[in-house]
């Protein structure tokens, strides 16, 4: 075809824009968003329902009109101070969570650094061993752990949480090790030339650059400890109980042996707010953290 004919055809062709393609793409996008919205509603429904039901009249349970009229906002006040001092148990929860999370994140990072950057005999075998401990099913370990705690005289105290906190978490060790292994080794070389030993290198160089994985660790471990039920219920006296147990057991109408469902829901939701807030605060770092620590095979 000659240049002229080609050009002419091109000029004719231009007005026929990408109507077909755009329409199809738009329809696909609308469908996609519709599906996501529906699923989002399904996922939020339980929480919304829990909230709505927490506003019902105390003895109603969950029955009555879908949106409770009138809305008993004082259920929340009752949940806070009616049957027991919510704030006291809230403080217990915070203490236990802190004991179990703060040291654990640091010692896991420390151990992760050791596996990633220090040379020692048996290092790799030891790492596989640590990983293997995550395969010890809870089923077989938690009862004997209970025994040992009792035998050690730590029953009814917070000491088990202290030890769990100091001990760290094998999964977090794995995360940190993967993350630190990807640091450029020139950092270590520069630090060594500047005279820093391992501890100093870890504290002054690696740790400050670990915000992502640290956020991930805090969220995962923290939310786990915040809602912990089984060990707390087995080991702690009412005085030291966290809300994870108290909310389940504490909202009962003393005389009639009924569970005060709406109040319990109110208490549950109050209990959920702090981790939710922490999550929102750290959320951007969390998403980035999961990506950077990566899952290679």
């Amino acid at each position: 075809m000659t240049q002229g004919a080609v050009a002419a055809e091109g000029v004719r062709a231009r007005p026929r824009r990408r109507k077909r393609g755009v329409a199809k793409r738009l329809a696909g996008s609308v469908l996609l968003h519709a599906v996501v919205v529906v699923l989002a509603v399904v996922f939020l429904a339980p929480i919304i329902w829990g909230f709505l039901s927490s506003l019902r009249e105390v003895h109603q349970g969950v029955s009555g009109s879908a949106i409770p009229r009138p809305a008993h906002w004082d259920n929340y006040r009752y949940a806070w101070s009616g049957l027991f001092a919510f704030s006291h148990y809230l403080r217990n929860t915070a203490v236990l969570t802190f004991l179990g999370t703060a040291p654990a994140v640091l010692t896991s990072a420390l151990a992760g650094y050791a596996f990633a950057r220090m040379r020692a005999r048996g290092r790799n075998a030891f790492f596989i061993f640590v990983l293997a401990t995550t395969f010890i099913p809870f089923a077989v370990s938690f009862i004997p752990t209970f025994w040992v705690i009792v035998e050690l005289g730590m029953y009814s105290t917070r000491w088990p949480w202290v030890i769990w906190g100091i001990s760290g978490n094998a999964f977090l060790i794995f995360l940190f090790r993967q993350f630190y292994a990807s640091f450029p080794s020139e950092l270590d070389d520069a630090a060594a030339i500047d005279g820093a030993g391992h501890l100093r290198t870890f504290i002054q160089i690696y740790l400050p650059n670990s915000i992502g994985p640290l956020a991930v660790a805090v969220v995962i471990l923290g939310t786990g400890w915040w809602g912990e039920y089984i060990y707390a219920s087995l080991l702690l006296p009412d005085q030291l109980l966290p809300l994870g147990v108290k909310v389940a057991n504490g909202y009962y109408d003393p005389g009639q042996q009924f569970a005060l469902v709406p109040i319990q829901l109110a208490g549950s939701l109050l209990f959920t707010i702090p981790p939710l807030l922490a999550f929102f605060a750290l959320q951007k770092r969390l998403a980035r953290g999961i990506v950077t620590t990566g899952l290679k095979g």
Partner: protein, 398 residues
């Protein structure tokens, strides 16, 4: 086998960036066209528009006189080789080569025949059952090419395929690509930021900057007859030396130098008061005291780089350096950030034959050839006088 026609292509991204700003280009059937320019000039975006991986905001694309602007990539009869090869890591070489053909329901015998042919031409026969992970960079590159070849498309599109290879390998594969093209004769659009590749591979090259084509021409023409300052500074390494000069009293004046305009002939009358003078580093000739060429400059050598086959000398010229946006972007693209603070004076580079003399610190005198000097308008950046290739040696005597 088909030609490509791009009609006023504009591509604006959602964030407002106009990556391609009105490109018109005709690529002949069977031609090897190189799109070259600094990073961010829009060459890769343009390539992806031709491929159909990006939609054009305005304009039309014709492949073989068929309007493909609205057509899906798979129906454009193209094949693409990516910078990172994009080989399917979980498939063997054989399966990688066959993928596109299987998708198109090519009969099994035909697939086997085409794969065998591509493997033979590219030397892949021993690698057929290996996975990409087990291949070297050069081998992966050949598989990527083989995958494109097996499809027998009308057009090959290549996005910087050599940039991940080490230097020596790059030179060799460059030659292979050339020979492959002469053998197969398929229309190819090749994107690179390396002007050496543009000069050696392309039958024609389109120099791009900021979404626009600056000049489309054969490599020779781009070198000898750049149409504007950008092309002149982009083609050729080390870059052309540039300095602003005044036209006064029948002479070209800059720094302490005065070059008589009579040497330029009647064309000189067309020059405005201010111009930018350009001289390529290889277009100097060193002269001693005895000789007195019509055009000569001198300076004190501040840097001497002896490359064995030649010597590069840098000497300052007492005039402010030319710092147009384009020059800055070219220099940034060459990854030559100055280590020390910018010199207040322009620095000229000259390429001289290597010898025994030590030039560092000494004063040198260099002759210029008016026929090999370039003149640009300081405001429009266009080339003022037409130039052509020159064969004779640089005149050392007036």
């Amino acid at each position: 086998m088909a030609g490509i026609e791009l009609q006023t292509i504009v591509k604006t991204f959602p964030n407002g960036v106009r990556a391609v700003d009105g490109v018109d280009l005709t690529i002949e059937d069977g031609e090897f066209m190189v799109l070259v320019g600094p990073s961010g000039c829009g060459k890769t975006t343009l390539l992806r528009c031709i491929a159909g991986l990006e939609d054009v905001s305005e304009g039309a694309i014709l492949i073989g006189s068929r309007d493909v602007t609205d057509v899906n990539p798979k129906d454009r009869d193209i094949a693409m080789v990516f910078q990172n090869y994009a080989l399917y890591p979980h498939m063997t070489v054989r399966k990688n080569l066959a993928y596109g053909l299987k998708v198109r329901r090519t009969p099994r015998k035909e697939i086997a025949a085409r794969i065998a042919e591509a493997a033979r031409i590219l030397g892949l026969e021993e690698l057929m059952d290996r996975r990409p992970m087990a291949l070297s960079g050069g081998q992966r590159q050949r598989v990527a090419m083989g995958r494109a070849m097996a499809r027998r498309p009308a057009v090959y599109l290549m996005d910087e395929p050599l940039s991940n290879l080490d230097a020596k390998l790059r030179v060799r594969v460059r030659g292979d690509l050339s020979r492959l093209h002469s053998q197969l004769g398929v229309t190819t659009v090749y994107v690179t930021h390396d002007q050496v590749e543009a000069m050696t591979l392309g039958q024609r090259a389109a120099v791009m900057n900021e979404g626009k084509i600056q000049q489309v021409d054969t490599p020779q023409a781009l070198y000898w007859s750049p149409s504007n300052l950008f092309v002149a500074a982009f083609i050729g390494s080390p870059s052309m030396n540039l300095v602003e000069a005044r036209v006064a009293d029948g002479c070209l004046r800059f720094a302490d130098f005065s070059l008589p305009l009579s040497e330029l002939g009647p064309e000189a009358a067309n020059l405005p008061d201010r111009i930018i003078l350009g001289v390529r580093p290889e277009h100097f000739a060193q002269v001693d005291e005895a000789q007195s060429p019509a055009w000569a400059i001198e300076g004190e050598v501040s840097v001497e780089e002896n490359l064995g086959a030649e010597v590069l000398v840098v000497f300052p010229v007492n005039a402010p350096p030319i710092e147009t946006d384009e020059i800055v972007s070219i220099r940034a693209g060459e990854e030559e950030e100055a280590l020390l603070a910018q010199e207040a004076r322009a620095l000229f580079t000259a390429r001289l034959p290597s010898g025994t003399r030590r030039l560092l610190g000494s004063k040198i005198r260099l002759a210029l050839d008016p026929a090999r000097c370039y003149f640009f308008d300081p405001d429009t950046r266009e080339s003022l006088l037409s130039r052509a290739p020159v064969d004779e040696p640089i005149p050392a005597l007036a």
